[in-house]
């Protein structure tokens, strides 16, 4: 099976989707001729023509607003916002329009769009190239929110998202574009070619939305993670010698609650990790759900390891990023509680 980076896998997903369905169109800033600032759309314009893959003016509101109109016509737009940090000008279109069109029109009109955006930190991106705004979308009825953590899932989830009848926010952890990252910034990064999840089938396949993956089975404690934090959690558990069960959520909305509940009922302990800021972050929803559904099985308070409640800093990158040390401490505390 071929090896792909996450970038290549994402590009392959769009290639496959465009090849199968003439209604799939791909556009955004620098997405066309240049192939995207992260190379995710490289070659698509040459292959499918400039009315299927094209550059847009620098207007996130315009990109998403026109995508919604195209979807109402019957296309399946896969739009890119260059960084998740720049999605806010389109927030009204996403929340007030894309998410609600099916509901408010009783299905007269629908909005099968995908909004791809690179997300997350760990790259010295500072305040506006590092944010993780997923909680701003998981709070919105009508959206689906996906965060892949490896090339295979990225391709399968993206094809599933493009084929999905509802609007999907597709957050791509840019720290994982070229290889897995466990937070050990002092070590050299290994490429996806050395990782089993870098094996990605060439043709069409999907990874279903709304289904989590158990990355490591364990008995001592459940870690709920997604994106880059899946690898941080794995490394933290190994370093601390804790037999953790690690769940990669993959889809945040709708959530695979069954997998979570089964795991926490088994382990009795739960640690939630994400890069996004703590207060009202997605971890709060996870903690509340675990508390509600697993209360009598819990042997310790649910711990949350997250970004601090500050804007994402530049120089203090590794003091901010919830790396293996901070996650490891939370694992020990939860085991000792």
């Amino acid at each position: 099976m071929p090896r792909m980076t996450m970038i290549e896998a994402i590009r392959s997903a769009m290639d496959v989707a465009m090849g199968r369905d003439d209604n799939v169109v791909v556009f955004g800033e620098d997405v066309g001729y240049f192939g995207g600032v992260f190379r995710c759309t490289q070659g698509l314009q040459q292959k499918y023509g400039h009315t299927r893959c094209f550059d847009t003016p620098i207007s996130e509101l315009g990109i998403i607003g026109t995508a919604i109109g195209m979807a109402a016509y019957g296309l399946r737009p896969c739009a890119e916002v260059q960084f998740a940090d720049y999605v806010y000008p389109a927030y009204d279109q996403i929340v007030s329009e894309a998410a609600r069109i099916r509901y408010r029109s009783n299905g007269e009109f629908t909005c099968p769009i995908v909004i791809r955006m690179p997300t997350g930190g760990g790259i010295f991106g500072g305040q506006t190239h590092s944010q993780s705004p997923e909680a701003l979308f998981t709070h919105v009825s009508g959206l689906k929110v996906v965060v892949p953590s490896n090339p295979r899932d990225a391709k399968g989830l993206l094809i599933a998202a493009i084929e999905d009848p509802d609007p999907v926010i597709f957050l791509e952890p840019k720290r994982l574009y070229n290889g897995p990252f466990d937070g050990h910034h002092e070590r050299p990064v290994t490429p996806w070619s050395k990782h089993e999840l870098g094996e990605v089938a060439d043709g069409h396949f999907t990874v279903p939305l709304g289904k989590a993956a158990v990355r490591r089975e364990g008995a001592a404690l459940t870690i709920l993670a997604y994106g880059t934090m899946v690898y941080v959690a794995q490394t933290a558990a190994e370093e601390m010698g804790i037999d953790a069960e690690i769940i990669d959520l993959r889809t945040l909305l709708p959530l695979d609650l069954d997998t979570i509940v089964a795991s926490v009922k088994k382990t009795g302990r739960c640690v939630v990790v994400h890069e996004a800021t703590l207060t009202s972050g997605y971890g709060a929803e996870l903690a509340a759900l675990v508390q509600e559904h697993c209360f009598y099985h819990l042997e310790a308070p649910i711990a949350r390891v997250a970004g601090w409640d500050t804007p994402y800093p530049h120089a203090q990158e590794w003091d901010y990023f919830p790396g293996p040390h901070r996650v490891g401490e939370a694992l020990i505390e939860t085991m000792e509680a």
């Binding site: 029109s105 009848p165 709304g210």
Partner: protein
């Protein structure tokens, strides 16, 4: 060293306020028939002056004059009059229904009937409007069933939108009427996207976007013009300038100079300004812009100059911010009366027939209302099921919504 001046902030104010004498002396009204009609493939640079004029067909004597006249048959004109009368009668009944507590809210079109009614007649089946909440004439002139409009307004058991939407925020794909949103301006750029899609698929359908004068200040307006211009999308971008955005006069959105139409010039768009109370002029301009779009010549920006005679909504009292008699002083008059006078002048209509038509139309509205009320009103009779509240958020209901529906006991 240059001397320093103490700065002061300019906040535009309308010329008159409640208690003042209405004054539209600063509104320059060109003579009917005086504005040229360029070919639809005109280079936008050659018609920049049209952004500062007003295209008019009906003169004071009720005659249709000039190069924009003659786009409608006698029969179509009589039908247009009936559509406007129907919209007005519909508005009056629903306004009253709101006062009677049969619905929570209503918004009328008084004075603006020509804009949406005449525009609709320039479209073909399959074209798509992205309307605001004040273009129900698109539905009326497109023969959408009045009963269904009322069912929506009443949020009753037959409401096509299952009680989920505020009154007047209709949606009908079949009738080319995109789902109306409460969020202003959003649909303007969506219209451009729809038109781009039609062009991507090498289709022949076109889109029409709608926005009010106040909402042109929203970022969506700017984005729509950029994208329409960049991709030469087959879209007609309509600005309905009714002088008022709730209590705010149009100078707050427009600033101190130019016109709303002139905003299109910087984007290289062909831009027309039209008498919004002149059914014939609205239709002629719409036809021109639609033909331009359909011939793949690109988008057009149109400003309809009109006046919001009624209150902003049933929750608004205009006497708190503008003179009560202001609408009577409005120099472009009343669209219904102007078309009526034109038809009478041409011997196609009489005062008697007008009164008869008014009675017939009122009857049809009342019988539709009776039919709708059989299915319930907001607070009495049949209503949508609470189960409907959970449907349609997604195509397939996800587990968390199923759990919530169970919890709600529906």
């Amino acid at each position: 060293m240059a001397s320093k001046t103490r700065l002061s902030l300019h906040v535009p104010e309308p010329e008159v306020r409640p208690g003042d004498q209405p004054d539209f002396s600063d509104v320059v009204i060109p003579k009917a028939g005086s504005v040229d009609r360029p070919p639809v493939d005109v280079d936008p640079r050659e018609i920049r002056d049209l952004a500062y004029s007003i295209i008019r067909v009906l003169n004071r004597q009720g005659e249709a004059v000039g190069p924009w006249a003659g786009t409608l048959t006698d029969e179509e004109l009589a039908q247009g009059l009936r559509h406007m009368m129907l919209l007005r009668a519909f508005d009056a009944r629903m306004q009253t229904a709101q006062r009677q507590g049969k619905t929570s809210f209503y918004m009328q079109h008084m004075g603006e009937e020509a804009v949406s009614c005449a525009f609709r007649k320039a479209l073909e089946p399959g074209d798509m409007n992205f309307p605001t909440y004040r273009q129900a004439g698109l539905l009326i002139a497109g023969d959408y069933p009045m009963v269904d409009m009322m069912n929506q307004i009443y949020s009753n058991e037959s409401d096509p939108l299952k009680g989920r939407q505020l009154p007047v925020l209709y949606a009908s794909k079949e009738h080319g009427f995109f789902s109306v949103s409460g969020n202003l301006g959003t649909q303007f750029v969506q219209a451009v996207g729809w038109a781009m899609a039609s062009a991507i698929k090498n289709d022949t359908k076109i889109a029409a976007g709608w926005i009010g004068d106040g909402s042109t200040a929203e970022s969506d307006f700017h984005a729509a013009l950029v994208f329409a211009s960049t991709y030469r999308a087959p879209v007609v971008l309509n600005i309905v300038n009714n002088q008022w955005a709730i209590s705010t006069f149009q100078g707050i959105a427009r600033g101190g100079s130019g016109t709303f139409a002139a905003r299109g010039l910087g984007f290289g768009l062909p831009t027309l300004r039209v008498d919004g109370n002149d059914y014939l002029a609205v239709h002629a301009v719409a036809k021109w812009a639609v033909e331009r779009a359909r011939r793949n010549l690109g988008p057009t920006l149109v400003e309809y100059v009109t006046y919001r005679v009624g209150a902003h909504s049933t929750s608004d009292d205009p006497s708190a911010y503008r003179p009560k008699e202001e609408s009577e002083a409005w120099p472009l008059g009343d669209p219904v009366i102007r078309l009526k006078n034109h038809l009478i002048r041409r011997g196609l209509w009489t005062d008697e027939r007008h009164k008869q038509a008014e009675a017939e139309i009122l009857d049809s509205v009342i019988s539709a209302q009776k039919e709708a009320e059989k299915h319930g009103t907001l607070h009495s009779g049949g209503r949508p099921s609470p189960r409907d509240m959970f449907e349609g958020v997604y195509e397939t209901m996800p587990p968390h919504l199923r759990r919530q529906r169970q919890k709600a006991g529906v």
